[in-house]
Amino acid sequence: MNDSTYKRIEQNPRFQELVAKRDRFAWSLSFLMLGLYVAFILLIAFEPQVLGARISDDSPITWGLPIGVGLIVAAFALTGIYVKRANGEFDEMNKEILKEAQQ
């Protein structure tokens, strides 16, 4: 691929918009995922009894279970959210940028 095409794309404001949008999205989701995980670890460290508390008096199920399983589901859901937007909106923008560049 020749260098001038890359240079042209780099200077295209649409490209810069795409990069800014995608970066913001990717980093926000990363921090969200890490934040949830760190919160979970902190809970284990400082308030383990919260996770060990029963969700109701007559149930053996503790809060730790829905929270733990919820984290697994959240990891899956977040990847789903990212893929949906990246493979849809972002890839559309990308296609247009590439089309412009090839003209």
Partner: protein, 552 residues
């Protein structure tokens, strides 16, 4: 208070060993011959060899061999990645952990999973857009080919070697446990089969072996979880209250418990686990088997889903084993311990819920798991030698494809022989540290160079090379001087480096080294490398110029 955070992080400390080798370390008692397991395993081998034959007819070019021509779909690749993650030891080890400690097992599995979304958000599409066959393609994109490929290939080979030894020894122990066969039979069998898959079927066969195994393992585990739930009439409350009643720890199995003494080791291993995954060559190369960034993203989405589902299943299986295995004297020896050790909890549960035929199935799948993982390891080792060392370093990018392929096939054979020899040599050795070390090196050498090459404009060849080697050497040196090798294996009285795992320090060394030797690099070449960043950046973002799927 801080100490408690550390100890909580310490929950991660056992993780990598659980993941890949922990379940099958140490002394195992050979079990009686398990005929149905052997028959099922023979069926699996026959099916996978059939696939290898089919793949061999389709694998002609280098691109077929290294990356299945980029024609694997996101869904298939997701299953294959999940397959790489769901090893025999994670299945047996995590369910055993749930069996003995309850809730802690869930905490461990969550630790494994959180790395994946991050890999998707920050790495997957850039990797796919920049690379072709190996992660060195990405790391050396705008840097000195010779230096960076030599570094990456060394990083790859060291990681592959340690990982391979751990898996071979694991295979030997597992076959004694599950099939009642001899250790050496397993090592030779695994060595021969993995060479056959890779040599003739390349990446296409390796991927399909992994996919089949993943499907078998997921189906088997689903069936077990279903039978456990059926036993309690699909009422989770019953499952847990019954488990609390029969478990020696009682209520404690429903809340966080077991903690680790040494916080630095714990953090170190936690780091190795998270960032090591993003530096494991056999996982990274899977990103090049799909056609474009779109499919690469989908792969991680499906992989995360399958892995998460699998962990939920192992949790149910562990509790099922508390109910159905720990209460049944048929699964215990005279002292009341589980036959074959606690790692057999899931295997005994298979017997309890599905009879001897299903027990055979689960045993065969557990063993097949090792085969699928070592095939991937061998392929990534062979690619590093032929694509990075031979074609790019020795032939300076002027090798013809036929010679390059020949080199990779010869390397595959050599790796196979080496794996068998090492597997036998290490039979009686303590191999627990090897997987931890493999992860630590991946996190301290491969990962820093790779991530900075994609994100940091000012990275130069000198910085990447010196920092990368420093990280690699520090990781190995600290490991040798640490308690496992220096004291337990070499027999010295006191370790020179007091902690179990090196990643915390070796990662800092690598990152600081790369940073320092890059910013102080005032050479003309460095300047030029920085100027090339924008074209790499545009390609990584848009996929313009990326290698696509090969049409047949």
């Amino acid at each position: 208070m801080i100490g408690r955070v550390f100890s909580a992080l310490g929950l991660l400390a056992l993780a990598p060993t659980l993941w890949a080798a922990g379940a099958i370390e140490g002394e195992v008692q050979r079990q009686p011959l398990n005929v149905s397991a052997i028959i099922m395993f023979v069926l699996f081998v026959a099916a996978t060899l059939g696939i290898t034959y089919w793949a061999a007819k389709r694998s002609k070019s280098a691109s077929d061999f290294y990356s299945a021509g980029g024609r694997i779909t996101g869904f298939q690749n997701g299953l294959a990645i999940a397959g790489d993650y769901m090893s025999a030891a994670s299945f047996l080890g995590i369910s055993a952990l749930v069996f003995t400690s309850g809730y802690d097992g869930l905490i461990y599995s969550i630790g494994f999973l959180v790395g994946w979304p991050i890999i998707l958000f920050l790495m997957a599409e850039r990797l796919r857009n920049l690379g072709r066959y190996t992660f060195a393609d990405v790391a050396s994109y705008r840097l000195g080919q010779t230096q960076i490929r030599t570094l990456s290939a060394s990083g790859t080979l060291v990681v592959v070697a340690f990982y391979l030894i751990a898996q071979m020894v694991g295979a030997g122990k597992l076959i004694e446990l599950l099939f009642g066969l001899n250790y050496h039979v397993a090592v030779v069998l695994v060595g021969v089969l993995m060479v056959l898959y890779v040599l003739f079927g390349g990446m296409l066969a390796t991927t399909w072996v992994q996919i089949i195994k993943a499907v078998l393992l997921l189906s088997g585990a689903s069936f077990m979880a279903l039978m456990v739930l059926k036993h309690v009439n699909f009422d989770f409350a019953t499952l847990f209250s019954e488990a609390i009643k029969v478990h020696p720890k009682g209520e404690a199995i429903m809340s966080p418990g077991g903690l680790v003494k040494d916080p630095i080791s714990a953090i170190s291993l936690g780091l190795a686990l998270m960032f090591g995954t993003a530096g494991l060559p056999h996982i990274l190369m899977r990103f090049f088997t799909v056609g474009d960034a779109k499919e690469a993203r989908k792969s991680v989405f499906f992989a995360t889903g399958f892995i998460g589902y699998f962990y939920i299943l192992t949790f149910i299986i562990g509790f099922g084993a508390i109910l159905l295995v720990s209460t049944n004297p048929a699964f215990k020896d005279s002292t009341g311990a589980l036959l074959g050790g606690t790692n057999m909890a899931a295997v005994h549960l298979a017997d309890a819920v599905g009879g001897s035929l299903f027990l055979g199935f689960i045993s065969a799948v557990a063993f097949a798991t090792i085969l699928a993982v070592v095939a991937g390891l061998t392929l990534s080792g062979a690619s590093a030698v032929s694509h990075d060392l031979y074609a790019s370093v020795i032939k300076k990018g002027k090798a013809n494809e036929r010679d390059e392929l020949r080199v990779s096939k010869v390397t595959t054979l050599i790796l196979g022989v080496l794996a068998i020899v090492l597997g036998i040599a290490f039979e009686k050795q303590n191999i627990a540290f090897m997987v931890g070390l493999a992860f630590s090196i991946a996190a301290s050498c491969n990962f820093p160079v790779l991530i900075l090459s994609m994100y940091w404009k000012r990275l130069t060849t000198r910085g990447a090379m010196l920092g990368g080697w420093l990280g690699l050497i520090t990781a190995v040196a600290l490991m040798v001087l640490g308690p496992t090798i220096w004291v337990q294996i070499l027999g010295h009285e006191k370790p020179i480096y007091p902690y179990e795992y090196p990643a915390l320090f070796s990662m800092i060394v690598a990152f600081v080294g790369i940073w320092f030797f890059s910013i102080t690099d005032r050479s003309a070449a460095a300047n030029e490398e920085q100027n090339k960043f924008y074209s790499q950046f545009v390609r990584s973002q848009t996929g313009l110029g990326a290698s696509g799927a090969v049409a047949h």
